[in-house]
């Protein structure tokens, strides 16, 4: 149960980073929308869980935030990727691809392939 939450949080953090990387500075709602568009299920409910993740990333120094005007001229908190965040994203992306590749290979292997 707890592990699942950790995995989700980890993925969520990676998605946040990638979103900010692609779209530039964005407020919480925008990030949520974007993740929802791409991942579908993950944030269709409980969008609120995004905010503790944003805080954590900010406290880790991967992102920074400032108040700014939103599209309809209201005050919104905008998040942007920091230099550390870029690095983190690269590293995580690399890790992720590696893990994915290993897992993929595992699934491809059949019994008769083994020596």
């Amino acid at each position: 149960m707890k592990q699942k939450k950790d995995v989700q949080q980890g993925t969520l953090a990676l998605m946040v980073l990638k979103t900010l990387d692609v779209l530039g500075p964005l407020h919480g709602y925008g990030i949520a929308r974007r993740i929802e568009q791409i991942s579908g299920a993950l944030l269709s409910v409980n969008q609120g869980t995004l905010y503790p993740v944003l805080l954590r990333l900010e406290q880790e120094g991967a992102i920074a935030s400032d108040w700014g005007p939103s599209e309809n001229n209201r005050r919104a908190r905008f998040y942007r990727l920091t230099r550390a965040g870029h690095k983190l994203l690269e590293a995580e992306k690399h890790d992720w691809e590696q893990t994915a590749a290993i897992i993929a290979r595992f699934f491809e292997v059949k019994a008769e392939d083994l020596p």
């Binding site: 919480g28 409910v45 609120g48 869980t49 954590r56 406290q59 880790e60 209201r74 983190l88």
Partner: protein
């Protein structure tokens, strides 16, 4: 790196008390507004759009809590909250807090102090390089009672010249005294004589100046002197330019050439380190049988004690006059210093551990009782949704706070005890200087305290797991699970058992002490005083001094009789060997006897009864026929069934400083007196011989003797007058402390007294704590039964009926505890055997009186709860339910 940054940010928020609530609320509001707009655009009604947005966002409270946890340090926030709550709880029940804290303080403080002392004395290595290579060398022989035998001058020279085991070997005279005159009041100095290379053997260098050179060791009368660090610091004011200063010791001028380093373990009260010259040597150092030198050596690397023992046995056994079974024993130097107190200290450590156990059990029981009273509160909190883990954390915190509150004064108390301890007079313990609060003791004791804390937290939480919320809430108070009641009772039983063991041990020691205080030592210590006088006379010219002192002091008003002698009853005596005129003598097995030179009124002053013959009188002087008085032990051993009066014996006196003569003069036995003890009352009464001091043809007794005065009233009231009379005879005569003989006797019992008082104090503490424990459990369980008692009283039970019920409960626990304790004591008191005097380790008196005492105390502890229950107002009790 990221984790670090995250922690720093969290810590910063925590410390600054920064809370992101406002920001989060705004962000959430904004988020919902945007989502609502989106929904509106999708064609929903405004109300529906808002509702869907909120649904999609999820549980706002949960998000906020996650957010908050992420932002700060939740563990510490809870801890702070718990701490505040714990302090409030303590504030609300100050009596309970004070009691538990006091018990823990005493338990922890006493333990820390005792552990520190014992660690320092028994375990800490001596402060010398490779101190485990240092050994004391003793001889033993079954033919001579298997006691440790020191070495004579020739023994040592043989060891030194022929051994193959020691890198260095040295001899020393542990203690002799000299006068110090010319610098203010004349004083007595404590001297230790050391042979060449002694300090090199220890591996220490001079603190100031230098030690004796080989040339100085080759002169019998050498005008230089090395002073001890202690003497330099306290008597010479720590003067850094002291080298070259001249002090008058023993009547001669001595130039200080060095200050020895502090050696508190080996020589705690030495003032002067004099040289013991071996080649050439004084006459008394040349007697093979004059065995008074201590020998100490440092083994060569790789040589074991057993190898060295064989080596030395091969040297000692062929020496003339040695018994054929003589063997050499190497005792590690530290063991040599502390071996005599090891058992006592170990017993005290065991006792103090029992005290800590009792204290911890008691505090745990008290906390348990309290948490039972709080189970209603806990039930409410549980049913309102508090996690059990969270509650456990809170209880742990409360226990922890209590431990800290108790530990800090405990550490302080221990520290204070260690500061005061070395200043206590006559403690009889070696290595007392330099004792400090031991880190390990601190760690162990606080460790035990922390364990107890865990117990405090753990035991109540056990209870909550079984807590029936519904019934607790309904009854509005503790639900009494029999399981925890039984646990609680067994804690108290264990506590009583431990206290029982302690009080039985204390009882045994008390009984021994009482027996000792009634031992007849052969002299009457009341109205008697003594002081030690060291002169500079070694020849007949000293007779005038002693005669004048006897006359001067004897004519003081309030003085009934006065005498001098070179032994002190209850303290010390020299050992002599006897030669008989009425039988053949074997020079290799000369029978030993305690020997004392005394003036004519010696037995009048000591109050020792005459059994037959006569006392000395003024006619027994240098010119008259030599006489001797023996004690009844000597009479019984050497003339069984015979009248010794008129027999002839010769007395060979051995000891440091005595000049050897040829055959001793034969003396006629003129009297037999009752035996006297020259050690503590527990020492055996040995055969002894007394001779008129004027008939010592070597005149050695004139150099130092003790003055004894029997007074009419309080002997110490004469102190000043006696000093004046002595100084009237010789103005620069040092007069040592004037002590009452009661003080001397009490001093000889000091080592026994400190272990006795410690154990008694521990037992009293344990008894007190157990009384509190019994009181706590009885009040707690009667509180539980208030309703039942109320009904009983309402239907006609008398008050005494109720009181009996309460007493019976307390008594039941006490009896179980006492039986367990007595059983444990029966198994363990054998360990005390060495400390007992005149009673068996299973002494019935001590056992019975301890049992009765504990029984009475526990009955007393039941009185208040019994009365409280007996005087219950049934109407109020039943209504309050």
């Amino acid at each position: 790196m990221r984790i670090l940054r995250r922690s720093v940010a969290r810590l910063e928020n925590f410390v600054m008390g920064r809370r992101g609530d406002q920001r989060l609320r705004e962000e959430m509001e904004e988020h919902l507004a945007m989502q609502t707009e989106e929904n509106l655009r999708a064609g929903m009604s405004p109300a529906e759009a808002r509702r869907q947005a909120v649904l999609k966002f999820g549980a706002v409270e949960a998000v906020r809590e996650d957010y908050h946890d992420e932002q700060g340090l939740p563990f510490f926030e809870n801890l702070l909250q718990d701490l505040r709550y714990a302090l409030r709880q303590m504030h609300r029940s100050p009596g309970f807090t004070l009691l538990t804290a006091l018990i823990l303080t005493l338990g922890i403080g006493v333990n820390m102090a005792i552990f520190s002392i014992v660690y320092h004395i028994l375990l800490e290595p001596l402060p010398f390089p490779q101190s485990n290579q240092l050994y004391a060398v003793w001889a033993r022989s079954d033919a001579q009672g298997n006691a440790q035998i020191a070495a004579s001058g020739p023994d040592f020279l043989d060891y030194q010249d022929h051994n193959r085991s020691f890198s260095r070997i040295a001899e020393y005279i542990r203690y002799f005294s000299e006068t110090w005159t010319g610098d203010g009041d004349p004083k007595l100095l404590h001297c230790t004589g050391i042979s060449e290379g002694f300090f090199d053997m220890l591996g220490v260098g001079p603190y100031l100046g230098r030690f004796y050179t080989a040339k100085e060791y080759s002169e019998l009368r050498n005008p230089t002197t090395v002073v001890s660090y202690r003497f330099w610091k306290s008597m010479l004011g720590g003067d850094p330019h002291v080298i070259g200063r001249v002090i008058h010791v023993g009547g001669g001028a001595n130039t200080i050439i060095g200050v020895a380093p502090p050696l508190p373990d080996l020589f705690p009260d030495t003032d002067i380190f004099a040289e013991v010259t071996t080649r050439p040597s004084w006459e008394f150092m040349k007697w093979r049988s004059n065995k008074f030198m201590r020998v100490m050596g440092r083994l060569k690397p790789g040589v074991t004690a057993a190898m060295a023992e064989d080596d030395l046995i091969g040297i000692l056994r062929p020496a003339p006059g040695e018994p054929p079974d003589v063997r050499v024993q190497l005792v590690p130097l530290k063991e040599d210093l502390v071996g005599s107190v090891r058992t006592q200290l170990q017993i005290i450590v065991l006792a103090v551990v029992l005290v800590l156990l009792v204290a911890c059990i008691n505090v745990a029981a008290l906390l348990l009782a309290r948490s039972a009273r709080r189970s209603a509160e806990m039930a409410v909190r549980l049913s309102l949704g508090a996690g059990r883990k969270r509650l456990r954390q809170q209880l742990l915190t409360e226990g922890f706070v209590l431990t800290v509150v108790a530990c800090s004064p405990g550490v302080f108390a221990a520290w204070l005890a260690l500061q005061l301890l070395p200043r206590l007079p006559a403690l009889g313990l070696p290595r007392l200087e330099g004792i400090h609060l031991n880190g390990l003791a601190l760690l162990v004791t606080t460790g035990i305290a922390v364990l107890t804390t865990l117990l405090f937290g753990w035991a109540p939480s056990l209870m909550f797991s079984g807590l029936n919320l519904a019934s607790s809430l309904k009854s509005g108070r503790a639900s009494t699970g029999t399981r925890h009641h039984r646990f609680f009772s067994s804690l108290i039983v264990a506590e009583i058992a431990c206290s029982m063991v302690l009080s039985i041990c204390a009882g045994l020691l008390l009984h021994s002490y009482w027996r000792l205080s009634r031992v007849d030592s052969g002299f009457e210590p009341y109205h008697m005083l003594t002081t030690y006088l060291r002169t500079i006379y070694y020849g007949p010219e000293g007779r005038g001094f002693w005669r004048d002192v006897l006359e001067g002091v004897g004519s003081l008003p309030g003085v009934r009789a006065v005498a001098v002698g070179d032994c002190t009853p209850g303290q010390n005596v020299a050992i002599a060997t006897l030669v008989f005129g009425d039988r053949a003598n074997d020079p290799n097995h000369a029978p030993p006897a305690e020997g004392c030179w005394a003036s004519s009124d010696f037995f009048h002053v000591s109050g020792t009864p005459l059994i037959r013959g006569r006392f000395f009188n003024s006619g027994d002087n240098a010119d008259s026929a030599p006489v001797v008085i023996i004690d009844e032990q000597a009479a019984r051993r050497y003339w069984p069934g015979e009248n010794p009066i008129g027999k002839l014996i010769g007395v060979n006196y051995t000891g440091p400083g005595r000049v050897g003569t040829s055959a001793p003069r034969m003396r006629e036995i003129v009297g037999v007196v009752q035996g006297m003890k020259f050690g503590s009352p527990e020492s055996p009464t040995e055969p002894a011989v007394y001779m008129p001091y004027l008939q010592d043809e070597t005149h050695h007794d004139l150099a130092s003797m003790s003055l004894f005065v029997r007074s009419v009233g309080d002997p110490l009231a004469l102190d000043h007058a006696i000093r004046i009379r002595i100084h009237a005879v010789r103005p620069d005569q040092p007069v040592d402390a004037i002590r009452s003989m009661q003080d001397v006797v009490s001093n000889s019992l000091a080592p026994r007294r400190y272990s006795l008082s410690l154990l008694t104090a521990f037992a009293a503490l344990a008894l007190l704590v157990s009384a509190v424990g019994i009181y706590a459990i009885v009040s707690y369980t009667t509180l539980q039964r208030n309703r039942e008692f109320g009904i009983r009283i309402a239907v006609g039970a008398t008050r005494s009926n109720i009181a009996v019920v309460v007493f019976r409960q307390g008594l039941k626990l006490t009896l179980i505890g006492i039986s367990l304790g007595v059983g444990m004591a029966l198994l363990t008191t054998q360990a005390l055997a060495q400390l007992l005097f005149g009673i068996s380790p299973l002494d019935a008196t001590s056992f019975c009186s301890s049992v009765v005492l504990l029984g009475l105390i526990s009955l007393a502890a039941c009185v208040v709860p019994a009365l409280r229950s007996a005087y219950l107002d049934p109407v109020r009790t039943l209504r309050s339910e």
